[in-house]
């Protein structure tokens, strides 16, 4: 059986990729995708911990489903915001959308 640490390593790599994407992309949609990756890395963790540590209760799986639901809602709202910004300013580059300062 594959040890737990492998899953955790995959999840950590996935999380780092997602974090990098969220921090480094200039495109808002790219940032959104990065966040999506980070959430899924967490999901892998949750499921892996459930399977290896507490298989008798379903907390890990239920938590993962909650996270997927939240991620879906987040993606919907995020995309709606991006569309709204694009309609107003004809750009999805986050560096150009910096009116909210000082």
């Amino acid at each position: 059986m594959i040890p737990l640490s492998w899953y955790l390593i995959v999840s950590a790599i996935l999380f780092c990729i997602g974090l990098y994407g969220a921090l480094a992309h200039r495109n808002a949609i790219g940032i959104l995708m990065g966040i999506e990756l980070m959430l899924n890395a967490v999901n892998i963790n949750l499921v892996a911990f459930w399977r290896y540590i507490t298989p008798e209760v379903l907390t890990g799986q239920v938590f993962a489903i909650f996270v997927i639901t939240v991620a879906a809602a987040e993606a919907a709202i995020g995309l709606a915001l991006i569309i709204s910004i694009f309609r107003n300013r004809e750009t999805v580059i986050v560096e150009d959308v910096d009116m909210m300062k000082w």
Partner: protein, 669 residues
């Protein structure tokens, strides 16, 4: 009786409510005010008569239980309660017979006398309050209520004596009456407070029981208390040396003079001494009573001599009142309690009659000066005949009221103290003389001032005169000594004496002397009355005084001048007491200005300085801290706001770094 006592509080309450009603609502309707006042006093009179007759029916029980009480109000004072209520005992009953009757007559008379006065309603409101004071004083069962009513009367006397305050003399007279009686009031209040501290009670019965113990433990204090209480009576009853206000009180409307002199004010002083008689009698050897007797005898004699030389018809009567009050006080001083109360009652009837009669004369001729009068007998028949009856009663002609009461006093005096008896007998002689002089000067001979056209007064004035005259004739018969042949047994063996003698039966230490009938004393007093009247006739009656002719008594020379100027007592007071008071007030004024004000100003200045320092501290320290906090906050915010870049990824970087740092903190610390 025990049920009827519930009516007693109403007796003073009815005039009190009428006073309020007139003063507040019906002031503008003069006629209605006077009707209301007369109705109120009539109700009080009717209630009093109910009480009097039921008390007479209860007479045998008074010996066992002299007083019936009704407590109206209980005021908790620490551990004890102060009960204020009313009581019925023989003394109260005796006064409830006299006061409302005389007041009723005076009220009816006033409706005629005061007609046309611009302050007609106010007058009736005041006399209602006045009557409330006297009735409340009579029925009170404790010293506090008595004192309150006493002060109400003091106020009313001030208001009524100065009723015509447009006249400066009336205004001053009111002031003089108020201040002079106030000296007595202060003494009384001190006495009352001392009594309360020593006996812990103000109700008469409790006080009388308490003083018995006090007289044994601290006789000096008891003596002082008795003299202080007597001081109150001296002021109120115008006894020497505080008698100066009463003659000046003649400035008030005549019904007020009658009210003050007969039924209320001055009677209150005698009533007080009678009421508090046990506290005078409790000391062995009765030194306090000796003072009472001395003051009374001196007043009785000297006031009567002053009355000889007065020309003002009302002033003669005023000095006569002082003298007769001296008689009563004197009687109390020698233990003649019953005689004093008897004289108080008979005197009220004939003195009210004389005052109202003189008012009627003044109403007819518009002057107070007897030298301007004369020959009024034919023009004012009702006034003349009733005045004559009053004069004979005062002079002590049998069988009128004044004779019996005066004789009883002199009988007691003869038995107890010969000096007092001599002074009283001389005063009786002089009284008969000056009253004869007054009647001759006023009513006999021919009019001395041709310009005065006298007229008889309206019925509302002479009907009360007639009723009071009947009273002046008959009231004395209540107290005819039992030993007088024929008359005594016929009139029930001196019912008044039997009734009143039960007053102090509860207190063993009060010995009321029982003085038998003394024909010699009675004959001497008849002779004195006859001699006084005869002398008066010789001087004024044989050759009636003509216009412009000087008073025949002026031949007395220096004595006349002395009497005419009332022994210069007013002048002496002005030179000593009044001047002294004003001088002292000046000194105190300068003390106030120089020292008290300086201290106050200094304190004010120091406070001002201190507040200046305090202000600086506030401005620079307190405000500095508050403003500093604000300024620092704003400066820090100014610097920190540049973190807010508006770039989402910057924020995210900060979040990531923070999370990593926090993880580091949690894992390694």
């Amino acid at each position: 009786m025990e049920d009827l006592i519930r009516l007693v509080p109403l007796i003073p309450m009815v005039p009190l409510l009428t006073f309020a009603l007139i003063a507040i609502y019906v002031r503008r309707y003069h006629k209605l005010s006077s009707y209301l006042a007369v109705a109120a006093i009539f109700v009080a009179w009717a209630l009093s008569m109910v009480i009097v007759f039921s008390a007479v029916a209860r007479m045998p029980h008074f010996a066992e239980e002299p007083a019936v009480h009704l407590t109206l109000l209980s005021i908790p004072t620490g551990g004890t309660t102060l009960d204020i209520g009313v009581q019925i005992d023989p003394l109260t009953v005796a006064l409830l017979f006299m006061v409302p009757t005389v007041c009723l007559m005076i009220f009816i008379y006033s409706t005629g006398y005061m007609k046309g006065d611009p302050r007609y309603s106010r007058f009736f409101a005041y006399i209602c309050l006045f009557t409330t004071g006297m009735l409340g004083l009579v029925v009170a069962d404790n010293l506090l209520l008595l004192f309150i009513c006493w002060e109400v009367m003091g106020l009313c006397s001030y208001l009524l004596i100065g009723f015509w305050y447009e006249k400066p003399s009336a205004m001053w007279a009111g002031l003089k009456a108020f201040i002079t009686t106030r000296i007595g009031d202060v003494l009384l209040m001190l006495g009352m407070v001392l009594l309360y501290t020593q006996t812990g009670a103000l109700r008469f019965e409790t006080v009388f029981t308490g003083v018995e113990h006090l007289a044994e433990t601290n006789p000096t204090l008891m003596y002082v208390i008795a003299l202080l209480v007597f001081g109150g009576a001296v002021g109120k009853s115008a006894q020497f040396p505080l008698h100066v206000w009463l003659p000046d009180a003649m400035e008030g409307p005549t019904p007020v003079s009658a009210l003050i002199h007969a039924a209320t004010m001055v009677a209150a002083g005698v009533f007080l001494v009678a009421r508090m008689f046990p506290i005078f009698a409790v000391l062995e050897g009765m030194p306090a009573l000796t003072w009472v007797a001395a003051i009374g005898a001196i007043t009785a004699f000297f006031a009567s001599t002053i009355a000889i030389a007065q020309d003002d018809i009302k002033r003669v009567l005023a000095y006569s009142t002082i003298s007769q009050l001296g008689y009563m006080i004197m009687a109390l001083g020698i233990g003649g309690f019953v005689a004093a109360v008897f004289h108080l009652i008979t005197h009220a009837f004939f003195k009210a009659l004389l005052f109202l009669g003189s008012g009627s004369v003044i109403h007819g001729v518009n002057t107070n000066d007897m030298m301007e009068m004369g020959g009024l007998r034919k023009k004012m028949p009702y006034t003349f005949w009733t005045f004559l009856i009053g004069m004979l009663a005062l002079a002590g002609v049998p069988p009128l009221a004044g004779f019996w009461s005066k004789d009883e006093i002199l009988a007691v005096a003869f038995d107890r103290n010969l000096v007092v008896w001599v002074m009283g007998t001389l005063a009786a002689l002089i009284t008969a003389f000056y009253m004869t002089r007054q009647v001759f000067l006023t009513f006999m001979g021919e009019p001395r001032n041709k310009e005065i056209h006298a007229h008889e007064s309206p019925p509302s004035m002479y009907v009360p005169l007639i009723i009071l005259a009947i009273g002046a004739v008959l009231v004395g018969l209540l107290g005819v000594p039992a030993e007088v042949p024929v008359l005594g047994p016929l009139l029930g063996n001196n019912p008044f004496h039997h009734f009143l003698a039960a007053q102090f039966s509860q207190w063993q230490y009060v010995h009321l002397p029982h003085v038998g009938f003394n024909p010699a004393v009675m004959l001497i007093s008849i002779a004195m009355a006859g001699a006084g009247i005869g002398l008066g006739y010789l001087v004024y009656g044989r050759k009636p005084l003509q216009a412009g002719q000087p008073d025949p008594l002026m031949r007395l020379g220096a004595v006349w001048t002395l009497l005419r100027n009332k022994y210069y007592i007013d002048e002496i007071y002005r030179a000593t007491v009044i001047r002294g008071t004003i001088g002292l007030a000046g000194v105190l004024f300068r003390f106030d200005q120089g020292i008290i004000d300086a201290i106050v100003n200094l304190i004010g200045k120091l406070t001002e300085r201190w507040s200046y320092v305090s202000r600086l501290f506030d401005t620079y320290v307190i405000d500095g801290i508050v403003n500093g906090v604000g300024r620092v906050t704003s400066a820090v915010g100014e610097e920190l706001r540049f973190i807010q870049t508006g770039r989402v990824q910057n924020y995210m970087v900060i979040v990531v770094i923070s999370v990593v740092l926090l993880m580091g903190v949690f894992l390694y610390l």
